[in-house]
């Protein structure tokens, strides 16, 4: 069974513009924190799935700062950000997890973590055979950071390496906060 067979939305015309609820975010953040926002001039070469999704192992990465209740939280108070990341077992449930964050609303995620980190939805899709499997761990970090160069050298590089070499992911879902 593919994702398309499982009640996914019909094909959407990519030229159809969606209206962003909060417009001009990049400009707003860049004006308040000059140099903190990133733009790139070109795309990276696109990778392809080697097999169907039903035979692929997925990893999820989130900037929502979610973690096991038994783990120490990342540092949301540091003015430059926290350049570490945490592993979240892909078998975790809502009641095992907690969010510590400052820069986005998480009242609804506190009621149901799947609003921002759909870990239980992914578990269900594995049970149904839509996905081949999940990596043993997912990854979580704090999205706020004031040093994009350091972020690219540390968090981005470290997570990318772990995803490929330790977790052996075939594909990745990234969920910002």
């Amino acid at each position: 069974m593919t994702a398309a067979d499982s009640g996914a939305l019909p094909t959407i015309d990519p030229r159809e513009a969606g209206t962003q609820l909060r417009s001009g975010l990049w400009k707003t953040i860049n004006e308040r924190y000059p140099g903190a926002m990133i733009r790139k001039d070109s795309f990276v070469p696109q990778a392809r799935l080697a097999n169907s999704l039903s035979q692929s192992r997925l990893v999820m990465i989130s900037s929502c700062g979610v973690h096991l209740k038994t783990d120490e939280p990342l540092d949301v108070c540091h003015p430059f950000g926290d350049f570490r990341f945490l592993r979240v077992p892909s078998s975790a449930k809502h009641e095992d997890l907690i969010i510590h964050q400052l820069k986005y609303p998480h009242d609804d995620a506190d009621l149901d973590i799947n609003v921002i980190f759909p870990i239980e939805r992914l578990q269900e899709l594995c049970e149904e055979g839509v996905l081949g499997g999940l990596t043993p761990n997912f990854f979580s970090f704090i999205g706020y950071n004031m040093d994009p160069d350091k972020f690219e050298r540390t968090v981005a590089a470290d997570i990318a390496q772990a995803v490929v070499e330790k977790e052996h992911a075939d594909c990745a879902l990234l969920a910002p906060a």
């Binding site: 707003t28 953040i29 308040r32 924190y33 000059p34 140099g35 903190a36 540092d75 949301v76 108070c77 540091h78 003015p79 430059f80 400052l102 820069k103 986005y104 609303p105 009242d107 004031m146 040093d147 994009p148 160069d149 350091k150």
Partner: protein, 95 residues
Amino acid sequence: MSVAYLRGAVARGDLEKVIRFVRLHLGDGNEAVGKDEVDRSWVEAVKILLREEPVDRKFIAGVLEKDESTLALLLFHLHFYLIRKSGRWIHDGSR
């Protein structure tokens, strides 16, 4: 501001830019709110001390022997701790 931008501002002695950054961080992206938040955390500290409860000065003395980087970061943690105690929490990402 990015860290690189802040380093430049400190090197030039442009402290206005640095305090603007602090207010933006503490004000969830709003400088005026951040200025107010700084006042609120100090007010909250005074309110707590007005209760005249026992304090652990030995602990404070021990903490002050830590390295300056840890103590500088502690200042930010203490600010947010006092803001939570004040009962008004603005950090919902809406600004």
